[in-house]
């Protein structure tokens, strides 16, 4: 069964897996560059509007942001757990772990949506549409424009990750992954962990800033 995954132009399955893994890391490198552009923009604007950024961060919801951080960290654990158990041929446990990861991703998005809704009610919108508190300070408006771009782009990545996790769960159920071969599950996991790492930096920048 595992031999069916091996394509002819690779010497063996191990080399094929290594090539796939390297490709995934290169993709994650370019994703990191995408986010780093935004992190750099944030740093440059913060240098200019230091006190405005600190004032803006007081308007985000620290308890919600902290819970979201914990939710993503736990989901990452279950993702790693799913791969480990799939490789031990414990596919039922693996599916349960993937389902938990999926559920935690939904919880994360739900909390994010709640937070956005609260901001909208306060008139906190990006760019020229900002009618919230301290709107006369340019830096506060910039802070929230970056907030929406960066957390929004991150949320899109979480949605993409959820699609991926659902697809991986379906394939695990079909019995595709095991000790000999589990490359898609491994690469999907890498993506999920990457998205988690991005949030680890968004959290201090937008919630913890003083």
């Amino acid at each position: 069964m595992p031999t069916t995954h091996h394509v002819a132009h690779f010497e063996d399955l191990a080399k094929q897996g290594h090539a796939a893994r390297l490709g995934m890391w290169l993709f994650l490198g370019s994703e990191a560059l995408l986010f780093s552009g935004l992190f750099t923009l944030y740093a440059a604007y913060r240098n200019e509007y230091t006190s405005d950024f600190a004032a803006g961060a007081q308007l985000t919801n620290l308890p919600l942001g902290t819970i979201m951080t914990a939710v993503l960290l736990v989901s990452s654990f279950f993702m790693a757990f799913a791969l480990a158990t799939a490789r031990q041929e414990r596919s039922r446990v693996s599916i349960a772990a993937l389902a938990t990861t999926f559920l935690l991703g939904i919880v994360f998005l739900g909390l994010k949506a709640t937070e956005y809704t609260m901001h909208f009610r306060d008139g906190i919108f990006p760019g020229a549409y900002y009618t919230g508190p301290l709107g006369e300070r340019h830096g506060v408006v910039l802070f929230f424009t970056l907030y929406y771009i960066m957390t929004g782009l991150h949320a899109l990545h979480v949605i993409g990750g959820l699609v991926l996790v659902g697809w991986l769960a379906r394939r695990t159920r079909r019995g595709d992954f095991g000790e000999a071969w589990s490359t898609p599950l491994e690469l999907g996991g890498l993506y999920w962990h990457f998205v988690d790492i991005i949030w680890l930096f968004l959290w201090p920048l937008f919630y913890l800033l003083r």
């Binding site: 399955l13 191990a14 897996g17 290594h18 893994r21 390297l22 890391w25 290169l26 490198g29 990191a32 560059l33 780093s36 552009g37 992190f39 750099t40 740093a43 440059a44 604007y45 240098n47 200019e48 902290t66 951080t69 914990a70 960290l73 736990v74 990452s76 654990f77 993702m79 790693a80 757990f81 480990a84 158990t85 490789r87 760019g127 020229a128 900002y130 340019h138 830096g139 408006v141 910039l142 424009t145 491994e186 996991g189 890498l190 962990h193 990457f194 988690d196 790492i197 680890l200 930096f201 959290w203 201090p204 920048l205 913890l208 800033l209 003083r210």
Partner: protein
Amino acid sequence: MTGRSITVRTYAWVLLALLLLTAATLLLSFVPLGMFHMPVALLIAAAKTVLILLYFMHVIEQRYTIRVVLLVAVLLLGSLIVLTVADTATRDVPFHPPAPE
């Protein structure tokens, strides 16, 4: 496929460490650290990133090529961010980036 030495028990310890570091970051955010606030928070975030990379993302048991990709990415992204910050933080005349009206 390299060795699969990482056990579920290790994953659990890593998760515990990640959650403790998160709690530490949160508590430290209430300590008046002045200008060191953000550097400390980002340093802890970097430590969490290393834990995730090494264990959840299996870098600790990967071949050298993956580490090269990672190293190049860190170097390039690091210079992008550090040089930009060094520039904007040390200008005599504020550069006033465009702001929405």
